[in-house]
């Protein structure tokens, strides 16, 4: 099993969720996060005081999937989240040692 973690633009959450539905991804966890990469920060102005804001709002999506479906999930997220401009985000793929469904005690792929 794999965990696919994607940091994306907040306004791309809905398109990514829809696209993952289309390929029958059953669930995901979403977190509002802040960070920066090559996009760097932005300038905000409050009553004339200008501040450099380095940490930009992003959304982190986490999806657990069987090994054979991981590549499809990555490509789906990539296609749905891309604008082609700097700041589109990144996708990370991790191995998952075990998954347990709390309600039934099922493990492994059955629990995904």
């Amino acid at each position: 099993m794999k965990k696919i973690e994607a940091i994306i633009q907040p306004f791309k959450l809905e398109p990514v969720k829809e696209a993952l539905h289309q390929i029958s991804v059953q669930g995901m966890t979403v977190t509002e996060v802040k960070g920066f990469g090559r996009q760097k920060g932005i300038r905000e102005v409050y009553r004339g005081m200008e501040y450099q804001v380095d940490f930009l709002p992003k959304v982190k999506i986490e999806v657990i999937t069987p090994d054979d479906k991981a590549q499809a999930v990555v490509e789906t997220i990539m296609n749905a989240a891309r604008t082609g401009r700097i700041g589109d985000g990144k996708i990370f793929v991790y191995p998952v040692a075990e998954v347990v469904r709390i309600r039934t005690g099922e493990t492994g792929n059955d629990a995904v």
Partner: protein
């Protein structure tokens, strides 16, 4: 006695009371999230603290029988004799108690205005001590001079319809003294002090605007044409300043901001306060337009001058208050209020001189006494919280709670 007038003044008193929680939200949204409760609390507790101070001795010092025009004597301490009968020098048509409680709400919001200046760094205990001293030794005498029966500035003919000098200049200059005595917040100029909840600020500005009709129109102390005229002037002053602040920042910085619109509205309300009952609607728009630009420029100048007035009490209430008081000397017209006076634009340049004297007196007196009181409180109890507490935030360290939890 007049039932309509009494009802109007009592409702106006409730409207003015509502401004203080509105101000708390206006300020609370502009601080960082770790100080939101500390900011709200300083405003909310003043409703209780100043209410009691006013009943015990504040009212009689401000409005009691005058000792040489300087201060009221103590004959109305504990509100003795302040009840259902009118006191004719203030109003013949409403109970003395209605006038007293209307004025109580002004005595609450004036020190609350100052809380924006020292936001995010003042010890709560020292805050309470300073405010009681300030209300007693600064607000009460200045209110007496301008509004008290026999007050010396009133005797000179200074016009202040609803509190430009007593409330706004007074609070604005005390705020300047406070930030000069206390110094800058930890990390000022290095860290980003970004408002944590601007929707809260905009809601607060809306409540202030709403309550301000009680503040200004209610100051007519009667449900009559003068109250209507003050109501209209209040609305138009706020409109003018909202537009001109946003326009100014749009030109200077390239974007119109929500915080600018909310700040402009408050600046306009401040500026129209002394003038509300003396000027016509077109004059009110002009006063508002001037206030938005002047206060915006004052706020822009703050970092260049180098004092840390957290939420721009000096820039909005001080500068807006001075502009409003002087503008009253320009735009006042006896056609609007025969009991008032004509200003410079209506053929009476002397009025501007009288207004200037009232402004200068308030600035000097309030600044000097505030400075001395702050130094005393600092020496005995300390004004600033510990550096570590300031970094952790006042909600946790002064009040042991959090504004927001998961």
């Amino acid at each position: 006695m007049n039932a309509a007038n009494t009802a109007f003044v009592l409702i106006s008193a409730a409207l003015v009371l509502f401004m203080t929680p509105g101000l708390a939200l206006f300020y609370g949204g502009m601080v960082r999230g770790k100080n939101v409760l500390g900011t709200l609390m300083q405003n909310f507790i003043l409703i209780a603290l100043m209410g009691v101070q006013w009943a015990l001795f504040g009212y009689t010092l401000a409005f009691g029988p005058s000792i040489s025009g300087i201060i009221g004597n103590l004959s109305w301490a504990g509100l003795a004799g302040v009840g259902a009968e009118p006191f004719k020098a203030y109003s013949e048509t409403i109970p003395h108690g209605a006038f007293m409680v209307f004025q109580m709400m002004f005595a609450i919001i004036t020190p609350a205005l100052i809380t924006g200046a020292w936001a995010e760094r003042l010890k709560f205990k020292s805050f309470l001590i300073f405010i009681v001293l300030w209300a007693t030794l600064v607000y009460d005498p200045v209110a007496h001079w301008v509004w008290g029966d026999g007050g010396w500035l009133k005797g000179l003919g200074a016009l202040d319809f609803a509190g430009g000098t007593v409330v706004h200049i007074n609070a604005g200059i005390a705020a300047l003294a406070a930030v000069l005595v206390m110094g800058k917040r930890e990390g000022y100029g290095r860290d980003a002090f970004i408002p944590h909840n601007l929707p809260m600020t905009v809601l607060g500005a809306g409540i202030l605007w709403f309550g301000w009709f009680g503040f200004n129109a209610g100051s007519a102390l009667a449900a009559d044409g003068l109250a209507t005229s003050a109501f209209v002037a209040t609305q138009l002053g706020a409109c003018g300043a909202t537009l001109s602040w946003v326009a100014a920042e749009w030109i200077v910085r390239g974007k119109p901001t929500t915080l600018g619109a909310a700040s402009g509205a408050v600046a306009g309300l401040v500026a129209i306060t002394p003038a509300a009952g003396f000027v016509g609607p077109m004059s009110a728009i002009l006063i508002g337009l001037g206030a938005g630009v002047l206060c915006y420029l004052a706020v822009l100048a703050k970092p260049k001058i180098g004092y840390d007035d957290s939420l721009d009490v000096v820039g909005v209430h001080g500068v807006g208050g001075v502009w409003g008081a002087l503008a009253t000397g320009l735009f006042a017209s006896k056609l609007v209020n025969p009991a008032g006076a004509d200003g410079l634009f209506f053929g009476n340049p002397a009025q501007l001189g009288i207004q200037f004297l009232a402004v200068l007196t308030t600035l000097v007196y309030s600044f000097v006494i505030s400075w001395i009181l702050l130094k005393i409180v600092d020496a005995v109890w300390g004004l600033r919280v510990d550096k570590a507490d300031e970094i952790a935030g006042l909600d946790l360290t002064e009040h042991q709670e959090a504004g927001y939890s998961l």
